[in-house]
């Protein structure tokens, strides 16, 4: 309760400050009233876009792209990362490629995606997958490499061999690492998708990035701020829903903290 109260006080103060500083600066003529929306303007925009359904449908479009691409990137990246850890030739090829491409900001995939796939859902999906895949490969590889060899030896004495060892020992043992990489992959995917949606409109669906960019085109700062807040809230919610349960599990089972 106390922590909640402190949180509420902090954000409440932030909103009040926002309101009064804006009013003050606009009245003195320092800030343009068009470019400096008040919190209540932003709230009014959000409320109206919730009521007419645009916010919800944009969120659904964006989340669909993100979750599908993220799912594909993770499902492909996990086994590839484990194989990279297992085979020297995989680590000399795919491992190096993944390491290189992971350093490439994933927004760089937007131009080639548009050229290859046109202004289509496929282009969006491609960008999200590229944002996810490399991080997950690297994380799974590092995770598997950092598993204490004694686990595999112990499993071997109990009759575990080959694929069984990889699925029942190496994979679970590397999970804390892997989930760390999945979290990073999520962050990359989310950022690159926003960049892609801001850069191009796809006719099959307008996402949050499109709404943000529309706000810019219309000089509607209340819309720009409103969508930014929604994007932040979705990011926080994803963290809590997708990753917090895992982290709680690691803390309970492994005794890991952090």
């Amino acid at each position: 309760m106390k922590r909640l109260a402190i949180s509420l006080l902090f954000f409440g103060t932030l909103v009040v400050l926002w309101h009064f500083v804006t009013v003050w600066q606009v009245n003195r003529g320092n800030w343009s009233p068009v470019l400096s929306p008040l919190p209540e303007d932003v709230w009014a925009y959000l409320w109206s876009s919730i009521k007419d359904g645009t916010l919800l449908s944009a969120s659904i479009v964006t989340m669909k792209r993100l979750l599908l691409g993220y799912f594909i990137g993770t499902i492909a990246g996990l086994p590839l990362g484990l194989l990279t850890a297992r085979f020297r030739w995989m680590s000399d090829t795919l491992g190096v490629l993944a390491l290189g491409l992971q350093t490439l900001p994933s927004v760089c995939w937007v131009p080639p995606a548009l050229l290859w796939f046109g202004q289509s859902e496929a282009a969006m999906l491609f960008v999200v997958i590229m944002g996810t895949l490399w991080s997950v490969i690297i994380a799974a590889e590092n995770g598997a490499r950092n598993v204490p060899p004694i686990y595999a030896r112990a499993a071997k004495t109990m009759g575990s061999r080959g694929l069984h060892t990889w699925i029942k020992v190496i994979l679970p043992a590397s999970l804390p690492f892997v989930v760390g990489g999945m979290k990073q992959g999520w962050a990359f995917a989310w950022r690159s998708l926003m960049a892609a949606e801001i850069m191009v409109s796809i006719l099959t669906g307008l996402g949050l990035g499109n709404l943000l960019n529309n706000g810019r085109d219309l000089n509607a700062m209340d819309q720009v701020f409103g969508i930014m807040i929604v994007i932040v809230i979705i990011g926080l919610a994803a963290d809590k829903l997708l990753f917090s349960p895992w982290e709680a599990f690691f803390k309970r089972r492994w005794g890991l903290t952090g």
């Binding site: 686990y151 030896r153 071997k156 109990m158 029942k168 679970p172 089972r253 492994w254 005794g255």
Partner: protein, 266 residues
């Protein structure tokens, strides 16, 4: 049948025949074991003692099938050992328990790999051994919540669960405090008596070896080889603090010192 699974089975006879093991460390060749031969009778408790680097753990790993000898061979009941097998279970110095499984899950891991056991039977077998090591009350605990001694007890239950004929123990109590260790000396002796296993136990602690072993085999390093054997003819169960142990201990320690000081002066 569950009763078959829990039956006391005949322990294996082990023979180590002219085993050598060489490692390449950089440009130099290290001889970890040189022409080592040893036979262990069915149900015998043998302790391998020696300073670090004498190859005693390497020999244990070769018996386990985790490492291959450079020459020579290991026979378990007349069959050549080529890989790890459920008939020879290993207990390591680090407990090597899986942190993603709870206590029961760890003990069941090996049982799941044993063909012909139903889920309910696996659980029953696991519970039997957890009870044997005195941990039936903590089956759903996580590994990190256990004390060092409890972890090694779980590791012991895990090693016993597939009902091996040989138990290979690599300094399993070295990292524990003295009190916990003393309790385990008593427990391991009674479990050995009840379950009839052939045990090869590696340690650098002479007192521990004398307390546990029917026979103490002394190794010396560079190259690792067997120097001397001592039969310990004392009543069981033995107490680590008993006076009768002391004469054996001092005799073995004296012999051990002889080999190691020669090593230094050479």
């Amino acid at each position: 049948m569950i009763t078959d699974e829990l039956q006391v089975i005949t322990p294996s006879k082990l023979s180590v025949e002219n085993v050598s093991k060489e490692f390449q460390v950089g440009h130099t060749k290290v001889v970890a074991l040189e022409n080592v031969s040893l036979s262990v009778a069915e149900g015998e408790f043998v302790c391998l003692v020696g300073p670090s680097g004498c190859g005693k753990s390497t020999l244990l790993n070769i018996i386990a099938g985790l490492e291959q000898p450079s020459s020579g061979r290991i026979l378990s009941d007349g069959k050549v050992v080529t890989e790890p097998g459920r008939d020879r279970m290993v207990m390591f110095q680090e407990h090597a328990l899986f942190p993603w499984l709870d206590v029961l899950g760890n003990v069941m891991f090996g049982l799941k790999l044993k063909p012909g056991l139903k889920a309910a039977e696996r659980k029953e077998v696991a519970m039997f051994y957890l009870k044997l090591v005195g941990l039936e009350k903590v089956v759903d605990r996580n590994v990190h919540e256990l004390s060092g001694g409890m972890k090694q007890r779980v590791a012991l239950a895990r090693a016993l669960a597939p009902n091996p004929r040989v138990l290979l123990m690599d300094e399993p109590f070295a990292a524990l405090d003295a009190m916990t260790r003393e309790q385990l000396y008593g427990d391991i002796q009674s479990i050995w008596a009840a379950r009839k296993k052939t045990i090869v136990f590696v340690t650098h602690n002479v007192r521990e070896a004398t307390c546990l072993g029917d026979r103490v085999v002394l190794f010396s390093p560079h190259p690792g080889r067997i120097r001397e054997e001592f039969a310990i003819k004392l009543e069981r169960p033995r107490d680590i603090n008993s006076v009768s142990l002391a004469s054996y201990t001092s005799e073995i320690t004296r012999a051990l010192k002889g080999y190691t000081t020669k090593e230094v002066s050479e």
